[in-house]
């Protein structure tokens, strides 16, 4: 029995000392599922570490709402999220000085190929959502306070829909899972383009409404005031918006898709808050 105990205790102690003895305390990055699940963040962090080998980044993946909450609690040093209104609110509350836009893509309204609500016939996102609600076709919502969920709620508001029935399904899960649920149940849903592009081969969903300027999906980086490792966090923020960071975003592809999943936004030196890019012009 005694030898069994020491067998368990020795590695425990070795592990404890190894875990506590590391001088490089990592920066905790709270990022949205879309940036991680697409594989972008792994590539970005690897590139960052080639230039700044001494700063370790730990990525925790969650919805934008949850990431902001971690920022408030002081549990995250950097946030990479896509919920502009909630971000502005976060800054107004005094939890951060600024939000720095880093990259963008767009949201896509997806549905079954048969398109029972005739979403493809509509000409604004609001009209598309109205058509879905009126047809009572299934719609899968993230329902998780993520950036995409916030955007979806804003679109229902635009469509003046505030009564939801059994056709409205809340998955409470990340984008990938929500897309798979929508596909299995032949439902409509909304997704960021990156996650949809990565998963489209296994989904029976078709983009029915897309490339509209009001479907812009803007990702920003925020360094909360409560951050413990402000210095290191700022280095990462600066690198993301530097030429080398932006170059990595531009070149990132899923397998060999032609289109980049995310498009970089190079920061102008005199204008810290960027003008919203014109999607129709960019695509």
């Amino acid at each position: 029995m005694r030898s069994l105990l020491s067998l368990l205790l020795i590695p425990l102690l070795a592990f404890l000392s190894a875990a506590c003895g590391d001088a490089r305390t990592p920066v905790i990055l709270a990022a949205t599922t879309s940036t991680y699940d697409s594989g972008l963040l792994e590539v970005l962090i690897a590139a960052f570490n080639r230039e700044h080998g001494t700063i370790r980044i730990r990525t925790v993946v969650m919805g934008s709402g949850e990431a902001l909450e971690l920022g408030r609690r002081g549990d995250a040093d950097v946030l990479l999220i896509h919920a502009p209104e909630a971000e502005e609110h976060f800054i107004e509350e005094g939890y951060a000085d600024e939000r720095v836009p880093v990259m963008y893509n767009d949201f896509v309204i997806l549905g079954p190929v048969s398109d029972p609500a005739e979403v493809a016939e509509t000409d604004t996102p609001g009209a598309a959502f109205e058509a879905i609600a009126q047809s009572r076709a299934l719609f899968v919502s993230r329902g998780d306070s993520s950036g995409t969920h916030y955007r979806e709620l804003a679109l229902w508001k635009t469509a003046r829909i505030d009564v939801f029935g059994p056709w409205y399904v809340e998955s409470g899960q990340g984008q990938g899972t929500s897309l798979q649920i929508a596909s299995e149940r032949a439902a409509y849903t909304i997704s960021d383009r990156a996650t949809f592009t990565v998963l489209q081969d296994i989904l029976e969903l078709k983009p029915l409404f897309e490339r509209h300027r009001s479907l812009l999906n803007l990702y920003s980086v925020i360094r909360p005031e409560e951050a413990l490792r402000k210095g290191e966090a700022q280095v990462f923020v600066d690198w993301l918006t530097s030429e080398s960071g932006q170059e990595v975003i531009l070149r990132f592809r899923h397998h060999d898709t032609e289109e980049p999943l995310f498009r970089p936004l190079v920061r102008g030196s005199t204008n810290p808050v960027l003008p919203v890019p014109d999607l129709e012009e960019m695509y």
């Binding site: 205790l9 875990a19 990340g174």
Partner: protein
């Protein structure tokens, strides 16, 4: 290619990502189990053998620990370790240590409750006889424990089962960070979400194999202990 075949190829070809996660999983689960045994086993044995006032509430408390939903334990550990929580200064949230703490809390009651039940079942005359034959108090206790060694091994197995298959708590306190806190269960959630089914299946196959292997191993260890002479 068939995802199942691809999964088997990932396992057998020693795919770096898959094996990194598997080893991390074993490391974290092993250490949590160690901690749970070191704390839970003495408590279970002590409460099982001892006779003291207010014994019933203590036994009830240990058994109640079995019913703690792991995800609630995860939430509690998260709030404790969060920087705005009481132990925030330590900076342990999203580290393997946070996972070990949560899993030890989950598995501890299993180890304690099963060993308590085992020790309670020992006929009291064994200790009396041993003492009558000249054994010291300590020797008498060890003798009793040897009697129920198989059940104590089962207690460890129960703890292991509670740990290795757990996903909610480790996701909350570990954060599923690649190379640090990503274990097989959380990797399966992530890779399924990402549509990488072959990677998820590979982890699933290994996870089931490990669960089977450890339980068989514990069974064999338990058997062997019975054959040993009772008093050396």
């Amino acid at each position: 290619m068939d995802p199942l075949l691809e999964a088997l190829r990932l396992i057998t070809s020693g795919d770096l990502y898959v094996w990194n996660v598997i080893l991390r999983s074993l490391q974290i689960s092993g250490l949590s189990l160690g901690l749970a045994v070191v704390i839970g086993l003495p408590i279970g044995v002590a409460v099982g053998l001892a006779n003291f006032r207010c014994r019933m509430p203590v036994v009830a408390l240990i058994n109640a620990g079995l019913a703690f939903p792991p995800v609630v334990v995860g939430l509690a550990v998260f709030l404790f370790l969060s920087r705005s929580g009481p132990l925030g200064e330590l900076g342990l949230l999203y580290t393997p240590l946070a996972m070990i703490a949560a899993q030890a809390v989950i598995a501890g009651p299993y180890v304690a409750a099963v060993s308590l039940a085992a020790v309670e079942g020992i006929p009291p005359d064994i200790a009396l006889q041993a003492r009558a034959l000249g054994a010291s108090r300590w020797q008498a206790i060890m003798l009793q424990l040897r009697e129920v060694r198989t059940s104590l091994v089962a207690a460890v197995a129960a703890g292991f089962g509670a740990i290795i298959s757990e996903v909610g708590a480790v996701m909350i306190v570990g954060g599923n960070i690649l190379g640090e806190t990503r274990v097989m269960t959380t990797a399966i959630v992530l890779e399924t979400r990402r549509g990488n089914f072959e990677v998820a299946i590979a982890m699933g196959v290994v996870l089931m194999f490990i669960a089977l292997f450890v339980n068989v191993l514990l069974l064999i260890l338990g058997r062997r202990s019975i054959r040993r002479p009772l008093i050396a």
